[in-house]
């Protein structure tokens, strides 16, 4: 029964959602809407599980003095600090997003700069990696290099200043060969997703139960 009940739930809900796509009338439409609301609620609870797991693993790292445990300490402090700011704002302000609130202070002066810094570093690493790796060693690499150069210049204003040919060519690359390759990949992904979904609904794929 440990496996049969989850398999039955998966089969029935999967079937309702698929059938409702084609027949959205009563009572299927209402049933689908109810299932979607449940999904949203369950997903909310998974966030709590995520928090529990995050806190537990990092507290263990601190307790065991594992390598890099000070980072775990910073994480715990950051987590609790943000939580405290959130609760304080919730209790004292109109909403969590009220500008000037404690939570928005943490968001504006900690979260935004930290996230932006992490992502900004990519520009430097990409520049260095492109310089070292982009070598025209083979015909394919040369084609890739030329295409990348045209798109890089064609998608910025200075490209049009150099020659109108650059933005026109960049648009053609994006709209014809790029899209042809992407379509092929997407059709393959969609077919794979349908096959996998059917396997899950029919109970042939059971790895999610383990």
């Amino acid at each position: 029964m440990k496996k049969e009940i989850p398999l039955a739930i998966t089969f029935i809900t999967g079937l309702i959602i698929i059938v409702t796509f084609f027949i959205p009338h009563q009572p299927l439409g209402t049933m689908q809407q109810r299932l979607l609301i449940w999904y949203s609620i369950v997903l909310g609870f998974t966030m709590l599980l995520g928090m529990d797991s995050l806190l537990r693993s990092n507290l263990q790292r601190i307790a065991r003095r594992s390598p890099g445990w000070p980072f775990a300490l910073v994480l715990i402090i950051g987590f609790l600090g943000t939580l405290a700011a959130g609760i304080y704002t919730w209790a004292t302000s109109e909403s969590l997003l009220s500008l000037g609130s404690s939570f928005m202070y943490v968001y504006t002066y900690f979260i935004i700069p930290l996230q932006a810094t992490m992502f900004s570093l990519l520009a430097f690493f990409i520049a260095s990696a492109a310089y070292r790796a982009f070598r025209a060693r083979t015909l394919e690499a040369t084609l890739l290099l030329i295409t990348a150069a045209v798109v890089m210049l064609g998608r910025v204003p200075i490209g049009a200043e150099i020659s109108q040919w650059l933005p026109d060519s960049a648009s053609w690359i994006m709209e014809v060969p790029q899209m042809a390759a992407k379509r092929g990949i997407f059709i393959g992904v969609a077919l794979g997703t349908i096959a996998m979904s059917l396997r899950v609904i029919l109970g042939l794929e059971r790895t999610y139960l383990t």
């Binding site: 909310g44 049009a160 992407k182």
Partner: protein
């Protein structure tokens, strides 16, 4: 010989320093370059422009700080455009960490057009489970958003009184740094016929071109270039246009390094072979 070896092996720190300078100088000195307008962005502009006054435009804030430099200018520009046309704005977000950007954007733009909260615009906030939401909002928004982000029941908000599902939304502006854009198109666009324009990061935009060609979206604002184009069209230049000058020089520098690296590599290799 030695000079080519040096060209083929430039120290990373020199690359970092030069990149920092070419990004910083245009931003500090506020340099401007003329912006070329592309068809997908023109069509996105037209999608908002051609709506009758008082139409309801839903904004979905699906990005966070890592993509904000690219997408926040799009939000500000499209919000400005919508408010200037006296459209009603319903904002929500599928990224919990991105929603404050929506609130920051609304607080920056709405007062410039004397737009009033609850009458001209509303912020619904964030709810988990975006795929389920995108399907469920097609039947009833209140099933997922019983209140706005302040906790006010939707039925007490004047703007929301006649808005129940996608039939009451004239256009969706999806601002995307991830998968949610495609989901909007597949679940809300394909299933309910919702009109959609997408603003996406430069990385995500290529994934949207085929939806544009198949007319499943009405317009596409791709990357910072797209944001700069939109700012140019509404005649309100912001960080999109400023950022494109920095990006132009950064791309030129990068190409310069790639060419130099290749020249150095091939000269050294040929000399070694001979």
């Amino acid at each position: 010989m030695k000079i080519f070896e040096k060209i083929a092996n430039i120290d990373s720190r020199i690359i970092y320093l030069l990149l920092l300078l070419v990004v910083l100088i245009p931003l500090v000195f506020k340099l401007v370059l003329p912006i070329n307008l592309s068809d997908p962005v023109k069509q996105a502009y037209q999608a908002i422009e051609q709506l009758p006054e008082g139409s309801v435009v839903m904004f979905s804030v699906d990005y966070d700080a890592s993509s904000a430099p690219e997408i926040q200018p799009m939000l500000l520009a499209t919000l400005r455009h919508a408010f200037s046309k006296k459209h009603k704005v319903v904002l929500l977000g599928q990224w919990a960490l991105g929603l404050p950007f929506g609130e920051i954007g609304l607080n920056e733009v709405a007062p410039q057009f004397n737009a009033r909260y609850g009458v001209d615009y509303v912020n619904l906030g964030y709810r988990p489970g975006y795929r389920a939401q995108m399907v469920g909002l097609g039947r009833e928004i209140r099933d997922f958003y019983a209140t706005d982000y302040k906790g006010t029941p939707l039925d007490q908000i004047p703007l929301m009184q006649g808005i129940h599902n996608y039939n009451d939304i004239d256009l969706l502006v999806g601002l995307e740094a991830g998968q949610a854009g495609e989901e909007w198109i597949q679940f809300a666009g394909a299933r309910y016929g919702l009109n959609i324009i997408i603003g996406a990061t430069g990385v995500i935009a290529p994934d949207m071109f085929h939806y544009m060609q198949a007319r499943q979206i009405r317009g596409l604002i791709g990357g910072l270039q797209g944001a700069a184009e939109y700012e140019t069209m509404i005649n309100h230049l912001g960080t999109g246009v400023a950022g494109m000058v920095a990006q132009s020089w950064a791309h030129l520098l990068l190409l310069g390094f790639i060419i130099a690296g290749n020249v150095g590599y091939f000269v050294v290799r040929r000399r070694k072979q001979s």
